[in-house]
Symmetry: D2
């Protein structure tokens, strides 16, 4: 589904602390993995989050998050967080995530929607406030031209 979008894989292991008394990964931790995948996505494309956004007073506030759980994973399992940038505009970014097991099975799938805001949480238009960063981003990811 995400062949035409920018996509980056992040390898990790399910940790003991990620897991609950049912012996499987705790559902809320999957959203931490999504964050890790997203941060790795930015870094892979040359936009490390802290330097690119946080230190300039840009926040990517979450507007929405969802996840479908398809297969249980347990502590020690090697997994891959496949992060795709499936939509972005002057005010928002949408990321889609697939958690894959070592043998390529889909364990979880979800997405997060973010708005660009200042540190007070006020949304802004990135292309107006940070035109240079905006140009670098569309150069890398192309999407908005389409």
């Amino acid at each position: 589904m995400t062949d035409s979008f920018p996509v980056v894989d992040f390898e990790m292991r399910v940790t003991w602390g990620d897991s609950d008394p049912a012996g499987i990964s705790y559902y809320a931790r999957t959203f931490d993995w999504f964050t890790n995948g997203r941060m790795n996505f930015f870094r892979s494309y040359g936009f490390p989050y802290m330097e690119t956004f946080h230190d300039k007073g840009i926040a990517l506030i979450n507007l929405h998050a969802d996840c479908d759980y398809k297969k249980m994973v347990t502590p020690g399992d090697k997994i891959f967080i496949r992060t795709s940038l499936t939509d972005f505009s002057r005010t928002r970014m949408t990321f889609t995530y697939q958690v894959l097991t070592e043998d390529g099975k889909l364990a979880e799938e979800g997405k997060t929607l973010h708005a660009f805001t200042d540190t007070a949480g006020k949304p802004f238009n990135l292309s107006k406030r940070f035109p240079e960063l905006w140009d670098q981003m569309i150069e890398k990811w192309k999407m908005p031209q389409e």
Copy 2:
């Protein structure tokens, strides 16, 4: 929206550990709050989770979770997790959550969908495997008769 469903409020404070470098509650932690709301819901109706489910080998595996973020909350804020049981059947339960600020504003809203499974993650029909518990649950929450 949830007037006709069983609903329980849980009061808590946003913690420092729930919050991220943007100075607001970290989005993944909202799903921990949903769990706290759900556990409190069960306890309020006389079904403490560990004794009622976990200790009998019943798991309420997550199939889906989502959340919409509407208003930022920060460490120390008093909030209420309003948990409603909006659907349940012999195999599944759906909970809806509203995170409300002290002055009653809606900060976050979401839901989780769960299946009854054994400890190996195999789904089962609660009314067949645990008929007495099933009867107690429909007695309390009525929904399935409708």
Copy 3:
């Protein structure tokens, strides 16, 4: 041991998300509870953390933390975090914590040591940089006069 020190109890329940595949509370979460106890301590004495410290650019950086685990607690258990301010000076604060079960048994015990720093992590003397706050604190907690 803490009779002569300022002390505040905080009531909470062990959560599902605090617990690990061994079915008991995960050891690292105890340090989250300590934070919750400490934040509640400050709030109880009229020094809410965000307004009193964070918003003025004061950080209470952790220098040390330790915990001894004496008794297992499980999801749903009601516990009390008893937080004492056992030492404080112009540059540092030490808190001691006891996690007590509902019937008063000691489950865990630990402490944290903090330094006052600016947002860049540079330590400072609170009585020089924020003399009014310092006076309010020794007024409440007396310790430094001894």
Copy 4:
């Protein structure tokens, strides 16, 4: 200090979710990193935790944990968790951890002490209950013969 002990390095990055409103890693998360280092230590020596311990009903309950914080780390920083097994006996294991920055500076240092228990939390002598596993462990790590 740990030259003569078995030691394994684990590379990771500080995550956004590990960090707090002060913009630095949240102190309680360091204990999650210690767990990750310990699990990686076991795996590196051919004793994956779940298969070796958990699935056989062996728990390594925490008796003590401590950490000294020496240098702030922030989201995105590459760090190494250096885990050493500094003591072990028929009933207990002690691990020592150093969190090192990418340029080799010591950021944090701590230790955890564990007892072998059954799933009910009752301590036992590993060499009596699981003699084969015990022999494999002293074969790898030598310590007890000294």
